[in-house]
């Protein structure tokens, strides 16, 4: 299987570029710069260097010994993206893109954020490289992720609240695109997930694929063989594609993407695009699976985790779903919350609510698998930011 999109950014029928005419020129400029970056060894070396010194890579592959024993089935390893600087996988993409923005001579960086992890990572690299930073964030997410809002401001970013629609990630992307279309000449849009118009889904995947490459060599060292199963949560899908990419051609490695099942199956109660009700459509510059109503209006979504609370999904995931290479499932808010507690108590690791969805699915599957099987769960972020939300869900901190 070829995992490259075609030159117009399509994987099968998904992807492409659906944007106002004004954005064609900056996207062409970005594509040209990115493809030069992709093939430039000096630049790749610079990227690897900053991944080491800024992001603290490689991140460990951790054997979750007590969790494995507790569940009594397959061995569970955690890819510890939560131990990266800024606490999530988002920093990988941000370092790559900020180097690109710098090379392109852009002075002003804009970004969207849902849970705030991408906003914090963007604010961090902007501070490190001395660039002006504006982060758009839905006001509902600002409420849910107050701590991250403060972190971004501390890092020198301007956080602009977005009060339209569901006041979450989708609306933050709308506003970032409006900013970009207005300030095309000096502004770089540092998109945080493997979605949006070409070349973003490809570029973000490439920059995140360090997760899978490290995992491969780490599991070979630990187990002497490839894993049987990879599990990652899927919002936009960057941590998942980052883990999966390097294994897509290994037919014996099963992969599962876990979406947010929210609190029910009806439209508006979840963010599971591959559930019945999701179908192909165009949002934010790309064609992919999309939660929409009968009139093609984008549906509101719900998840306890702000980072998974999004109506569309990266186009490569749509392609991998259709061709069956990756399986997609969902877990509910309640299951994710229970996995959050379990990992905290059993391993001493507080996972992000997003990552808790992946952990929750591993908790379901591991007991059904024999002890000689190996699961790798992408622990995409740490959960400090979610402690207040979880306390609220369980009826207060006391």
């Amino acid at each position: 299987m070829n995992h490259e999109p075609d030159e117009r950014g399509y994987w099968g029928e998904y992807g492409g570029r659906f944007v106002p005419e004004t954005l064609v020129a900056p996207l062409d400029e970005l594509t040209k710069a990115y493809f030069a970056f992709r093939n430039d060894t000096a630049f790749q070396a610079e990227f690897s260097g900053f991944l080491r010194t800024v992001a603290n890579r490689p991140s460990p592959l951790y054997f979750a010994e007590r969790l494995t024993r507790e569940l009594g089935g397959a061995k569970i390893y955690l890819k510890r993206e939560d131990l990266n600087h800024t606490g999530a996988h988002k920093i990988n993409n941000c370092i790559g893109q900020i180097l690109l923005a710098r090379r392109m001579g852009k002075k002003r960086i804009i970004a969207e954020t849902g849970a705030g992890q991408h906003g914090v990572a963007t604010a961090t690299v902007c501070a490190r490289f001395g660039l002006k930073c504006v982060v758009y964030m839905g006001t509902e997410d600002m409420r849910r992720q107050e701590l991250n809002v403060f972190r971004m401001r501390l890092l020198g970013a301007e956080v602009r609240g977005v009060d339209s629609g569901s006041r979450t990630l989708k609306d933050a992307i709308n506003e970032a695109l409006r900013d970009w279309v207005t300030n095309v000449s000096d502004t770089y849009y540092l998109l945080g997930s493997a979605l949006g118009p070409h070349p973003y889904p490809l570029m973000v995947r490439d920059l995140q694929s360090v997760i899978g490459r490290e995992t491969r060599s780490q599991i070979l060292e630990a187990e002497g063989r490839l894993p049987d199963l990879l599990i990652a949560c899927v919002g936009g899908g960057s941590n998942a594609i980052g883990l999966f990419h390097d294994f897509l051609s290994d037919d014996n490695v099963r992969m599962i993407g876990v979406e947010a099942g929210g609190r029910g199956d009806r439209l508006g109660e979840h963010a599971a695009r591959f559930k019945p009700g999701g179908r192909a459509g165009v949002l934010h510059g790309t064609k992919s699976y999309l939660l929409q109503d009968d009139d093609g209006q984008i549906a509101l979504t719900h998840s306890v985790s702000a980072g998974l609370d999004y109506a569309s999904v990266g186009p490569e995931h749509a392609f991998l779903y259709d061709c069956g290479r990756v399986e997609y499932t969902s877990v509910s808010d309640a299951e994710a919350l229970s996995a959050f507690q379990m990992l905290s108590a059993v391993e001493g690791i507080i996972p992000a609510l997003e990552s808790s969805h992946a952990v929750a699915h591993a908790v379901k599957l591991a007991p059904q698998m024999p002890p000689d099987k190996v699961i790798v769960v992408n622990l995409s972020g740490r959960g400090d930011k979610d402690v207040a939300t979880v306390a609220e869900e369980f009826g207060g901190i006391g």
Partner: protein, 263 residues
């Protein structure tokens, strides 16, 4: 020949320039929109752009975003809009262009829309977020039903693209006056004139200029170098202010008269 092309030829013969108002269909409801279309045609609109509401209008500023939301809250659908224009065709022959984002159209089905829109008296469709090959495919399907896909050009569009876009364009070209989203501005931009001049090297198609045009002087300025001026947010703002249908039509009449230069 389409109603749009005929209209521009007629204007050319009369030596005058065009006025193209935009309103969101279904804001505050479709009955009012139908009345507003008739009024605008009576007051001298040469073509009318009807916005198809979308939940996530990334090319629009706050005024049209709010207008789309009001329309959606009133339950407006593409079916409903086409039903309204079907009924309007007994009462006016003003060319009507739907202004939409892609997803509601994709959801309806492009082939089905071409047939239904033609039957509903729609003359053109402008899709804000479709370009290149995807635009060509839609344009071909629409052309078979005598509907023009109106192409957008922007100050950032390079000459090579202008050449490609104009080769496949029908009806007229919509020149975005400046980088940015829709919305009234106090000043017009000099970028628009430069864009129109560059485009003229590749095509004889009529060129309308939109985005940010909100005053009589802006229209007069656009008429110096282009074929028509589009006014959107400034008109929609009048609709937003009105408390009921009678007041809305009264405001719309007064504002349009104040806006439209002598021709």
């Amino acid at each position: 020949m389409s109603r749009i092309t005929r209209k521009f030829e007629q204007m050319k013969a009369q030596g005058r320039k065009g006025f193209i108002p935009f309103i969101s269909a279904g804001d505050p409801d479709l009955e009012t929109t139908a009345e507003a279309v008739l009024l605008l045609a009576e007051l001298g609109a040469d073509i009318i752009e009807l916005g198809v509401p979308f939940s996530d209008p990334i090319a629009d500023g706050p005024v049209i975003q709010a207008s789309s939301q009001r329309s959606l809250a009133a339950g407006t659908t593409l079916e409903g809009i086409l039903k309204m224009t079907t009924e309007l065709r007994d009462r006016t022959q003003v060319p009507i262009v739907l202004f939409s984002y892609l997803n509601p159209l994709l959801n309806y089905g492009i082939g089905r829309l071409a047939v239904d829109a033609a039957a509903a008296g729609i003359d053109g469709v402008l899709v804000t977020d479709v370009i290149d090959d995807e635009a060509s495919a839609i344009s071909d399907t629409f052309a078979k039903n005598n509907i023009d896909l109106i192409s957008l050009i922007a100050p950032t569009t390079i000459d090579e693209r202008l050449e490609q876009i104009t080769q496949h364009a029908n009806g007229f070209l919509y020149a975005v006056s400046r980088t940015g989203v829709t919305g009234a501005r106090t000043e017009t931009s000099s970028e628009a004139e430069e864009l129109v001049k560059r485009t003229r090297r590749f095509t004889d198609l009529p060129i309308a200029v939109g985005f940010g045009i909100s005053k009589r002087e802006h229209i007069e300025d656009v008429w110096q170098y282009a074929d028509a001026a589009v006014v959107g947010s400034a008109i929609v703002a009048q609709i937003e202010e009105a408390k009921n249908r009678a007041e809305l039509l009264k405001r719309l009449r007064a504002f349009t008269i104040s806006l439209l230069p002598e021709r």
